[in-house]
């Protein structure tokens, strides 16, 4: 269940990253609409909550310690990959 929690926290971070106007523009080249922004945020925060719940179910309070580590492990690569990935994405388009 810890692994499920990791993939969900990864999904949450991707959604929350895309819900930021500048990150969305960086990746797609277009402005984010209000509806898209809200939808991405809702999915992102729900996924975050779900991942915490799953981590807690998996290992109690130790699961929450797992979750903090997994959150970092999911978020840091997104931040560092984003500029390079967006260059690659824009070139392809």
């Amino acid at each position: 269940m810890i692994y499920h929690s990791f993939f969900i926290v990864l999904l949450a971070n991707v959604c929350l990253c895309f819900s930021q106007a500048k990150n969305f523009k960086q990746m797609t080249g277009s402005r984010i609409g209000e509806r898209q922004k809200v939808s991405l945020r809702i999915v992102g925060y729900c996924a975050l909550a779900l991942s915490i719940w799953l981590a807690f179910l998996a290992d109690g309070f130790v699961g929450l310690v797992y979750w903090c580590g997994m959150f970092t492990l999911a978020a840091v690569p997104i931040a560092f990959a984003l500029p390079y990935f967006s260059e690659f994405w824009i070139e392809r388009r």
Binding site: I2, N13, L16, V62, G69, T72, P83
Partner: protein, 592 residues
């Protein structure tokens, strides 16, 4: 009103003040903090590192029968340490596949009378011993195992440093930790767009890229950083605030002077021992260990106690079994389980080693107090002893991220200062090449010194650590105080990186030291293969994941340094090209 008069000068805002506090509170102890973070992060794997550094102890691939292991242990200890006061049998677990047996004999007041502290310590050391036991075959590893500081020495360095009195090292770490805690809080205050910039990283933009790196690693690891610094301070609560410990002790009637001067709990005065006994019984419901009566009695086989423990608590993983007052009618066997998340609340069960009667039942134990639980959870989180292997890796990576946060902060500071200095230099050069311009380079000496210190600390420390591992394989086995020699090798090599950084051109130091770090880590498995038969080719085949994991990890670290070295080389080449253009472009030469 004249511009610049008192009423028009703007007072610095709250955030600006906090920014200054953030800069200086973290900058002053930055190299100590980096050292503490790197050695502390390795400490999460200190048992595995020690296993790698003792290659004479063979890997055990067969399933371990704990009862059989206890039989081997009791046989050995009865034969070789029958006159000891205490036996400690550390059980194998998922992190180490051997058992550690140690014993000690308590010195009588007659034996220690008139001895100095050093003489007393030396005598105590003579009356102690330890060996490693193969839990399956019962084979004993004694003097043939190389003397090494192992991972424990690195771990210890993160809170007492090295080459200085313990108290001084502790105080330096405490003050640095406190300053870092202040830095974290002020960092949160000054970071205006903490959520908007959450995923922001702009590469190839010099100072801005370093700021982004610093922010990303700080914000994303913030819960860990706050927990680790706050709990680090909690470890030293009695040192920093002695009244917390001694105030209640005085109220309860303790002889505080005796507590301070006692070398160990055994040295407590009669009055203090009596009070501790009362508190143990009345507050914690614990049965205190009686002093040895001097009447010999035959102890039960320890397997009998183990069997009873397992029937009561089948799921608990045992950390160790301690026998007190060996072969005395007051003998006890205490079974201590592994730590949970609350460090103060691990299950401890005590039996009479003569009758097998259960004296202290951990299942009936109640929480000491909410304050103690809070402290226990923080200390438990700091040490991460409860962590399974996956969580331990997460601890390792987050600790490493903390080190990157500190390193990027240090680089950011020098990068800002250098930019300001270069702008000033350009201004001087535009004016003339007169006296003012001649004075200008002096402004940069401090910044240059800090830059050299930065690179020699940030890259030099890992090179020193690689030297520590290589020294473990190259220093002859059997040399006296060999473990200290390994540590000396680490600090000598680290010191040499400072000299190297001071002698090389600024543009090349980073790339060269990064390449040296890459090579240093890459040759560790090679040296291991040349000096032992526990190399990757063997450890992977035998599924010896401790040895293989270490070798693969250092190779991964070497690869990381290689990638960083390649990028730094490209930057230094482009810097060289830009310098050449600057010299040949006549328009850039200032007019006389």
């Amino acid at each position: 009103m004249a511009p610049g008069s008192a009423s028009t000068l703007k007072q610095p805002g709250f955030r600006q003040v906090m920014s200054v506090v953030h800069t200086w509170s973290t900058l002053v102890p930055i190299w100590v903090l980096y050292f503490v973070f790197i050695t502390g992060t390795i400490g999460y794997f200190h048992i595995e590192v020690t296993s790698w550094m003792e290659p004479e102890i063979e890997h055990v691939s067969e399933p371990i029968d704990e009862a059989r292991m206890l039989e081997h242990a009791q046989d050995y200890l009865s034969e070789n340490a029958g006159d000891a006061t205490q036996w400690i049998i550390n059980f194998p677990d998922e992190r180490k596949d051997t058992a550690r047996l140690s014993w000690s004999r308590q010195l009588s007041p007659e034996e220690t009378e008139g001895l100095s502290r050093e003489e007393r310590r030396a005598l105590q050391a003579e009356n102690r011993g330890a060996v490693t036991l193969n839990p399956v075959t019962g084979a004993i590893y004694g003097d043939e195992v190389r003397d090494t500081g192992g991972g424990s020495l690195l771990y210890r360095m993160h809170y007492v440093l090295r080459y200085m009195p313990r108290a001084l090292g502790e105080y330096i770490v405490i003050i640095s930790t406190f300053l870092m805690f202040a830095g974290l809080i002020t960092g949160i205050i000054i970071h205006k767009k903490i959520f908007a910039d959450f995923f922001t990283f702009r590469p190839g933009k010099g100072q801005r890229s370093w700021l982004d790196t610093h922010n990303v690693f700080s914000v994303m690891t913030l819960p860990f950083q706050i927990m680790i610094t706050f709990s680090g301070l909690l470890f030293y609560v009695a040192t920093v605030m002695p009244l917390v410990l001694y105030g209640p002790a005085v109220t309860l009637g303790f002889d505080v002077q005796n507590i301070i001067t006692a070398q160990s709990a055994d040295d407590f005065s009669e009055k203090n021992q009596e009070l501790i006994k009362i508190i143990q019984e009345d507050v914690f419901g614990d049965t205190p260990i009686e002093p040895a009566s001097g009447t010999e009695a035959e102890m039960l086989p320890l397997t009998q106690i183990y069997t009873d423990y397992r029937s009561r608590l089948p799921d608990h993983s045992i950390f160790n079994l301690i026998v007190q007052n060996v072969n005395d009618e007051t003998s006890t066997a205490t079974v201590r389980a592994h730590w949970g998340i609350n460090r103060q609340d691990r299950p401890i069960d005590r039996y009479s080693a003569i009758t097998g009667e259960l004296l202290t039942d951990s299942t009936e134990r109640q929480s000491k107090s909410p304050a103690s639980d809070v402290q226990g959870v923080f200390l438990g989180l700091h040490e991460g002893r409860f962590s399974p292997i996956l969580l331990r890796w997460l601890y390792f990576l987050t600790g490493f991220a903390g080190a990157v946060m500190i390193a990027s902060g240090a680089i950011l500071w020098t990068s800002k200062r250098r930019q300001a200095h270069e702008a000033e230099e350009r201004r001087f050069a535009k004016k003339s090449l007169g006296a003012e311009a001649a004075d200008a380079p002096r402004l940069g000496r401090g910044v240059t010194f800090v830059e050299h210190m930065n690179v020699a600390t940030i890259i030099g420390l890992p090179i020193g650590i690689a030297a520590y591992f290589i020294a473990n394989r190259l220093v002859a086995v059997g040399i006296e105080d060999r473990g200290a020699l390994e540590a000396d090798a680490m600090f000598v090599v680290w010191g040499l990186t400072f000299v190297y950084a001071a002698l090389r051109p600024r543009a090349r130091i980073w790339s060269e030291l990064l390449w040296i770090a890459c090579v240093s880590f890459a040759i560790i498995p090679v040296v291991n293969a040349l000096t032992t038969d526990r190399h990757l080719g063997v450890s992977l085949v035998q599924a010896d994941w401790i040895m293989a994991g270490f070798d693969l990890t250092v190779l991964a670290i070497a690869a990381l340094f290689g990638v960083a070295g390649r990028r730094a080389s490209l930057r230094s080449q482009s810097f060289d090209r830009s310098q050449n253009r600057t010299v040949t472009d006549p328009s850039l030469v200032p007019a006389e």
